[in-house]
């Protein structure tokens, strides 16, 4: 089966360069820092050791909120790694030998799809572990229950793994549509760091706007995960999708991008 061979090839390709673990290290550090700081702030305020401005949050469910920062802020990493899986091939012209080995180009994209899931899950595991380790550690300092024994926590982690895998697929889709590596990275960072947060903040302020905003990929991702710092901090929590709808929306983004790419750039002449 040629798809199996291609997937094995893509797997070797993905893990034979340093890119994946450099991004993984940044992901772990970033998520651990975020989760630690959130645990410090929320845990400190909830336990009364720090004085907050607003109403004191409940300690219940606080751990989940802290842990969800893994996907809340870390989703850009599987997105990036997925994008790079495709744009690197264009950038280093490795698409030539790739398509020589596998002239059926759709199969190549299929192989990337499966490896994208693997890398996404791996990043999910690393991100969740970092968030849980840092968050639980800081929370326990304040005497707040880390809820490590709670099934809710592990459901949350499971959904985050799913979100990470889906984000990697969205990344592959983006990379297939935007071949230029620099352009793709700029687009990914601009959308995830600026456009979406701003639009989602506005969505919380203007009535009716949230009906649109909830279909945005990061909103769908948050819906899938269930808890989100963003949702906790922005006032309007009205329009949020069901978790499984959120997952399907994210998958739909990935599939739409992949199909567009498959019928445009992926079919183009390789030179």
């Amino acid at each position: 089966m040629s798809l199996v061979a291609v997937t094995r090839s893509e797997y070797t390709k993905q893990f034979s360069t340093v890119g994946w673990w450099v991004l993984a290290i940044v992901l772990v550090v970033y998520v651990a820092f975020t989760a630690g700081v959130l645990a410090l702030v929320f845990g400190g305020v909830a336990s009364g050791r720090l004085t907050g401005n607003g109403p004191t949050p409940q300690t219940e469910g606080l751990a989940g909120l802290v842990y969800s920062s893994a996907s809340g802020v870390g989703y850009v990493f599987p997105l990036l790694v997925g994008t790079l899986m495709v744009t690197t091939e264009f950038r280093h012209k490795t698409l030539t030998p790739t398509f020589l080995a596998t002239p059926r180009r759709g199969v190549v994209l299929g192989g990337k799809f499966f490896v994208g899931i693997v890398v996404g899950l791996l990043y999910g595991i690393l991100g969740s572990a970092a968030a849980v380790a840092a968050g639980a550690g800081v929370l326990s300092i304040f005497g707040v229950d880390a809820e490590l024994g709670s099934p809710d926590t592990w459901t949350l982690v499971g959904r985050m793994l799913l979100a990470f895998a889906l984000w990697a697929l969205v990344g592959i889709g983006v990379g297939t549509v935007v071949r230029n590596q620099v352009a793709a990275i700029v687009i990914v960072l601009a959308v995830t760091l600026f456009i979406e947060p701003i639009v989602r903040t506005l969505g919380g302020l203007v009535s009716g706007f949230s009906e649109v905003v909830k279909w945005f990929p990061s909103a769908a991702s948050d819906a899938l995960v269930g808890k989100t710092i963003f949702g906790a901090m922005s006032s309007g929590g009205s329009g949020s999708l069901d978790w499984w709808v959120g997952g399907l929306v994210l998958l739909a983004y990935a599939v739409v991008f992949l199909v567009i790419g498959l019928f445009t750039t992926w079919r183009r002449d390789i030179d």
Partner: protein
């Protein structure tokens, strides 16, 4: 042993907007031969190869490998090995991992990776990142990628780019070896001189159109010869030629007169009382023919599918008693060195000693043609010893000699007839490093590539 396949291009056309990169190209590449795919930069070589390999979609026409399109091949890497550019690598991936990626995709055993790395001489750097590789090492790695599936067809785009002379020679012998095993070997280049020693057959394209298809030996027209003549008093000589209405070109080493035997030119000069310093016949230069073909000055019948029977540019033999054209068979195998060649039909015995190229390095600049002017011919003695060349026993590739027969012979000034056998010729041969096989062509199309002063 994988079988070589016939590569066939039929009406292959690629247009980019209004520009035709490749224009109804019809060509056939046979197994068991090294075929050179030549054309100047931008002639459409790479685009044609990419269409053959399914990377570029033809606007019209087909390109098949053993009758199948590339995309329809059951196991592509085991059928066709291709190296298209020296930069298709992720710089951060090691050479071994690069090959492993494609071995996996083609379901080849991973042991093949070490095999091909050894084959191209990269075993020592297998674990090093490709980013630190020199161009020559990348070329080798590209070749290793092509050889990964032990394919019956090899398609290499400018394979000798960036290789050192030793590497080029290695590449040539490897390609020859692969072709002798019955594989199809297609290599592109924009330099005829670069592939001339390696290839058996040629496809030449220019502006996307085929301008020549056939053996290297078909390239030159047997009628194509010229006489090079020089005199200390050039003014008198040019006046004489002008007076007789003989067209000529003034080159660095003398006047080149087409379609006129040295004997006629010599008689003419003698009649006018002009002392000559040089009178010689030269065959057509393949490089010149190549350039004329690609520039459209010359049109070859093979562009329409026919080929010209094999022939060699014959030397006009200056000797009165020698019948004019040397039969083709006599010329092969001896690669005429840049140094002197006897004035007569080349005796077989004399040839091997002289056939050592002065410079084995490929891509070498043509040796300056002035060399031949200074050498006195050892002719008489040699001629006495050996009868006019019979058919050469070793003549595997007549094409090579054709290329080198820029100078067939040197006519010494009149007194050489009585001069003792000059040892210059042999001395030259001795002095030359003997490491090059006689089968190899002498570099350069002596005397023809010099800067031409058009008059």
């Amino acid at each position: 042993m994988p079988e070589g396949q016939v590569l066939e291009l039929t009406g292959l056309t690629k247009r980019f907007g209004a520009v035709s990169a490749v224009d109804s190209l019809d060509a056939r590449v046979e197994p068991g031969l090294v075929t050179g795919f030549l054309g100047p930069n931008g002639a459409g070589k790479t685009t044609s190869l990419r269409m053959l390999l399914g990377l570029v979609r033809p606007t019209s026409g087909t390109a098949t490998i053993g009758g199948k399109r590339y995309a329809d091949l059951a196991s592509p890497l085991q059928t066709v090995g291709a190296a298209l550019e020296a930069s298709s690598f992720h710089p951060g991936r090691s050479a071994a991992n690069h090959l492993k990626v494609y071995a996996r995709a083609a379901k080849l055993p991973i042991s093949r990776v070490d095999e091909v790395l050894g084959l191209v001489g990269l075993s020592d750097v297998a674990g090093r990142r490709v980013g630190g590789f020199s161009l020559g090492m990348r070329q080798r790695l590209g070749l290793a990628t092509a050889l990964l599936g032990d394919p019956g067809v090899l398609v290499l785009d400018e394979p000798t780019n960036g290789l050192d002379p030793e590497g080029i020679r290695w590449m040539r012998s490897l390609l020859r070896h692969l072709a002798e095993e019955g594989r199809t070997v297609l290599i592109s280049s924009h330099l005829l001189a670069e592939v001339q020693q390696t290839v058996d057959a040629l496809l030449i394209i220019s502006h996307g159109r085929l301008v020549f298809q056939g053996g290297v030996e078909d390239l030159a027209d047997p009628d194509e010869y010229a006489t090079v003549v020089d005199a200390p008093d050039r003014a008198a000589l040019s006046a004489l030629l002008d007076e007789r209405g003989i067209p000529y070109q003034l080159l660095r080493n003398g006047f080149t007169i087409r379609h006129l035997e040295p004997v006629e030119v010599g008689a003419l000069a003698a009649g006018a009382g002009i002392a000559l310093s040089n009178l010689q016949s030269k065959g057509a230069s393949l490089e010149d023919i190549f350039l004329e073909l690609v520039s459209g000055v010359r049109v070859h019948a093979s562009a329409g599918g026919t080929t010209v029977p094999a022939a060699t540019p014959t030397a006009g033999i200056p000797d009165a008693e020698a019948p004019a054209p040397v039969p083709t068979a006599a010329v092969p195998a001896e690669s005429v060195p840049a140094a002197a060649v006897p004035a007569e039909p080349v005796p077989a015995a004399a040839v091997p000693a002289e056939s050592v190229p002065v410079e084995p390095g490929p891509g070498a600049e043509p040796a300056p043609s002035t060399a031949m002017v200074t050498v006195a011919a050892p002719a008489p003695a040699l001629r006495a010893e050996a009868p006019p060349a019979p058919t050469q026993p070793e003549a595997p590739r007549s094409s090579y000699s054709v290329a080198s027969t820029g100078v067939i012979d040197v006519v010494p000034p009149a007194q050489t007839a009585t001069a003792p056998p000059a040892h210059d010729g042999t001395a030259t041969a001795d002095a030359v490093p003997a490491d090059t096989a006689p089968g190899e062509r002498a570099p350069g199309n002596t005397s023809t590539d010099d800067g031409e002063v058009q008059r």
